[in-house]
């Protein structure tokens, strides 16, 4: 296991160059260009004494719809760890470049809210490649600690399309089965939409500016087309952040927020949020007859939610938030 401690957050621009370099035929023969390895290297990057910048957090909160609080938005540490994610995937021993990887799942485990000015240390490592119905997948694990205690974890599962049990370009039986499973197994299937959001065409650039994630598929319709998308697509992590911002007042301090990214959101778009909160009958304990001051709603339970296209109903994301008991096993990585 190679653990590298970085002195400062890596600069993203050179990393993008390296992430995209494998697209040039033969470039992976160079030692610093990913693509040479057959499997994911054992690698761990750490960064000490990271502090979120208040003004940047405020900008992020605005783009995602969070209130500016004493604590970081639940998704914000992902932004702090993003340069490390890029650095891991730009490593010369990596079997493929980051460009072209698809973020298919993200799970955040917040043990407690993280203060804005709190000094944090971030550790990132990739898991081994595993076969997936549509190719091969691995997970980038992020652990954020404060004062020696793990306070926040993130598991980002990335898919490398092709070479899986289903062929890449043709919908094989395996793929069909996986897609069916996706639809039926949706934890938010059948929920009633509670909010409609109009997403502007420049949303990708806006989120890129506050998150540092400048993947060309998000930046402009033309650059997105180069990678086979019909137009610029919204960041998956933006859509997760936006959903959690809408549920913010109902999130327990210690919770787990897991989402699956389904079909990409092509910008501009009109999308709808549905959540299991709307399954609660109106006035459950909160009816006008109930005495004021009564406790209403169920903040302890699990919240399922989904984001879909407002017109076509195309699923974009579905997820679930579960409260985490403090006694529960802290670390799940290694």
């Amino acid at each position: 296991m190679a653990t590298r401690t970085l002195k400062s957050s890596p600069r993203l621009l050179p990393l993008y160059a390296r992430a995209a370099a494998p697209l040039i035929p033969g470039a992976c023969l160079l030692p610093f260009v990913p693509g040479a390895g057959k499997s994911i290297p054992e690698l761990e990057l750490t960064l000490q004494d990271v502090r979120a910048d208040g003004a940047q957090v405020a900008d992020y909160a605005k783009v995602c719809g969070f209130a500016l609080r004493e604590h970081l938005p639940i998704t914000y540490p992902h932004v702090l760890a993003f340069p490390l994610h890029m650095a891991v995937m730009a490593d010369g021993r990596f079997p493929f470049g980051a460009v072209g990887l698809v973020h298919i799942e993200n799970r955040i485990l917040q043990h407690r809210p993280v203060g804005i000015g709190e000094p944090l240390s971030i550790k990132v490592w990739p898991t081994a490649l595993e076969p997936h119905a549509r190719g091969r997948a691995f997970t980038l694990v992020t652990q954020v600690s404060a004062g020696g205690e793990v306070v926040w974890e993130d598991f980002s599962t990335m898919l490398r399309r092709g070479g899986g049990s289903a062929s890449e370009n043709k919908v094989g039986p395996g793929e069909r089965k996986a897609a069916d499973r996706d639809g039926e197994g949706s934890p938010a299937a059948g929920l009633r939409p509670s909010a409609t959001w109009r997403l502007p065409g420049d949303l990708g650039r806006r989120y890129a500016a506050v998150s540092g994630d400048r993947n060309p598929i998000h930046m402009h319709p033309l650059s997105a087309k180069l990678f086979g998308f019909p137009g610029a697509i919204a960041h998956g992590m933006w859509s997760k952040a936006r959903c959690l911002a809408a549920l913010e007042s109902r999130l327990p301090d210690a919770c787990e927020a897991e989402v699956r990214f389904r079909k990409p959101i092509v910008l501009p778009a009109k999308v709808q949020l549905a959540s299991s909160l709307s399954e609660q009958p109106a006035g459950a304990g909160g009816s006008a007859e109930a005495p004021a001051g009564e406790v209403v709603g169920d903040s302890a339970g699990e919240i399922r939610f989904a984001l879909t296209d407002a017109k076509k109903g195309t699923p974009h994301l579905d997820g679930v938030v579960r409260p985490v008991e403090h006694s529960e096993e802290r670390s799940t990585g290694k």
């Binding site: 405020a58 500016l68 609080r69 004493e70 007042s249 004021a292 001051g293 209403v296 903040s299």
Partner: protein
Amino acid sequence: MIDKPRRVAIIGGSRIPFARSNSHYSHASNQDMLTAALESLVARFDLQGQRIGEVAGGAVLKHSGDRDLTRESVLSTRLAPETPAYDVQQACGTGLETTILIANKIALGQIDCGIACGTDTTSDAPIGVNEDLRGIMLDLNREKSLVGRAKQLTRLRPGQIVPSIPRNEEPRTGLSMGEHCAIMAQEWGIGREQQDELAARSHHNLAAAYERGFMEDLVTPYLGLERDQNLRPDSSVEKLAKLPPVFGGPQGTMTAGNSTPLSDGSSAVLLASEEWAKERKLPVLAYFVDGQAAAIDHVHKREGLLMAPAYGMPLLLERVGVTLQDFDLYEIHEAFAAQVLCTLKAWEDERFCKERLGLKAPLGAIDRDRLNVNGGSLAAGHPFAATGGRIVASLAKALSERKPGRTPARGVISICAADGQGVLAVLESAGGAQR
């Protein structure tokens, strides 16, 4: 329906530390800050998921997009979303007015508990589209034909890019509040030294309140700020004497030291009926007794812009049945040191009290050692609509610390506001004989 008004308990308050303009909270909106104050109140009194009878709040500087600011803030908190809320605006009196409104509804039995709150930012201030441009855009929108629209577009001029920025200016006099107060200071003969003394004492009192832990359950840190940013514990009359005058010309007596700075912040106060508090085993800090708003004609008659509280006080005293000297604590909002001193002098002035207030005798002097004992706006800062909540919570707590006597300890609040208005209220301690 109830037969007679109920007693209204002040359970407690919570606020974020006040910041100077364009500093710690420059990226926080009014809604962010109001949410933070409400959330800190929720945490302090365990209000998660509770349906509060009503939340009244407000801001003086509001964006056009801040529709139902208070309700929107409530929806961002852990309070039950079934909590109704509304906005109030009465310049710097907003915060105290929301307290009076909530207290009245509790007294009448319309609600059992409520939250009074306020917020203001001078950093994230609203900037409007140039008025001419706005007119053209609206006309353009009304035009149906292409030619008509093209015609409207020809009215556009480069100068219309200049936005309209809110100014600290009285709409009907064109003078800033500071300039108005400078005129008052001159009319009442308020000297520089007494203003600086009041300012220094405000800083010392607030610093002492923090030192002895008085502020611990009144203030919740926000965005890295733990104490009011404007507070200068080492302030002194000597240091303040060095500052140049900012209002009233070169001979003026008002400086940046004895005037409140532009500030950002928010506050919230929880009020309830006695039964509601008892059911939840929440101790009562103090009781709300009565409130009074007043206004003067600062436009056409010769009266100082910030003198309205002087007029409201005798009305309040008569209704409560006490004299100005019957209070254990006085909270007079220090918009400017000169405002406080003019008001006190007016109450002592026989002619003013007779001719303008219509009283037989002056209200008289107060014991200055009972004035703003835990600091005032000069030290804490003054985010307009948040000041009322700061004072109500702080006075209620100070009253709760008084040793129970034969009669309850009483405190009076006096807040001057723009546009010639003022809001006052009386609180009394829970201890002592019941009124």
